[in-house]
Structure formats: C-alpha cells, structure tokens
Assembly symmetry: C2
Homo-oligomer: 98 residues x 2
Amino acid sequence: MLSILAEGESYGYAIIQRVRELSAEEIQWTDGMLYPVLHRLERDELITAEWRQAESGRERKYYRLTTKGRSSLKEEKANWLTVHNTLGKLWNLQPVST
Amino acid sequence: MLSILAEGESYGYAIIQRVRELSAEEIQWTDGMLYPVLHRLERDELITAEWRQAESGRERKYYRLTTKGRSSLKEEKANWLTVHNTLGKLWNLQPVST
DNA sequence: TTGCAATACATAGCTTCGCAATGCATCAAT
DNA sequence: ATTGATGCATTGCGAAGCTATGTATTGCAA
C-alpha cells in the first residue's frame, strides 16, 4: 500500500486496479480488505486523506504518504529484502541489494 | 519454516539458529513464536514430529516435511514470488522467475 | 426509462496470527 | 554449585486478515 502511494496520491478503487495491473491480475484485493487498511494507516499517520472532486465530477477520497509514511516504507522495504534474501539463500536466488 | 525443513529434518532450537545464520543475524526468532507455529503446521499436517535421541544423548523433537507440506511450500513460494515481483516493479528490481 | 455493471466508500464481526511472558527440565563448564 | 546454553511448552492479549453486508452514484445498454 505504501509503495503504491509512493508513486503519487491515489484512492481506494484505483489502488485495487493498480495492484491488479502490476501483478498481472494475480493479486486481486477486494474493497473490503482495502479500506480497513487505509483507515489503519491513516490512524497511524502514515498517510493522510482528503475528499476531493475528480475531473469526472465525482467525490473521491485521495490518500497520500506522510513523511512518517515515507520512512515507514523505507523500513518495511528493508525488512522485506532481508526476509527475501534469507529465503533466497534457501531457494538459490540472486541476492537483492538493499 | 517450510523452506528450512525442506533442507532436511530439524528441531526447534536448530531452526532458530539456522534462520539467524541465513539472515546474517538480522532475523532473530524466539522460541515463544517458534513452537506455536510448529504445532500449527503439525495440526495442519504439513509437517510431522518425532521424539528421538540425538547423538548427544539428549531427547529432541525432530520435524520433517510431509508431502502435503512440500506442496504447500511450493504454493507459498509461488505466492511470495508473485508479491515480490509486484513490489519489484514499484522498486525497480529485477524480476525473479518462478 | 429501467435495470445492470462498474465505480466508490464504509463497517461489523469472526477467525487467525504474532509475539511476549512465563514455566520447566537438562546439559556442560567453571 | 551455579550459571548459561540448550530444549520444549502453553497462555493470552492485541492486531491483522478477510468475508459479508450496506449504501450511493455513474454510465451504458436494452
């Protein structure tokens, strides 16, 4: 979620589509699992939300990373790579530099 | 856990040390989080347990993968790589082939 | 113009998981 | 004899995962 928002602000429905697209349809988040996560991230001040009218005229809730969110992402990414490289040793994968 | 046991049978304490070693000390599992996981995997029949005496003369509980565990690992590994490659697109990493 | 699919957000609630805390026993070395 | 490392186990709380469900709007086709 944080990595998606690091590309730029977005909103619920678009995030689902983006993940779907990036994963070649393999990851299909539902809105029911998306919004609770967004609310939690907002509560933890990793993202901020703003209602705004899209060009379509429709009201949407746009989310963007906060500074705290950016540093959390950095940390989470490092953690991911640590785990990935550990698994990589068991799976004979090329290590990924942090 | 499944990947560790795919290397061959092992037991709780050794698994913790193996993960620690593979991760260059970065991942430090505690026994309190390890055993519940082992018990769950055993309940789900992904691993089997057997008390046996080590050469040291000490009783240890050795775990090994079942066939079901092996196929679960295969599935989990594919899932991991899907997520990793999706994140990789956002992080500009080289894709890892399944 | 009506009805359906897609867009858009939200919450309730059950199940499972993550993890720390705690307990206990054995073994080796000092 | 005591300490630190080895070795397994359970309890329990808070957090997370995910399904089900509710509501409203928009756009398009029948």
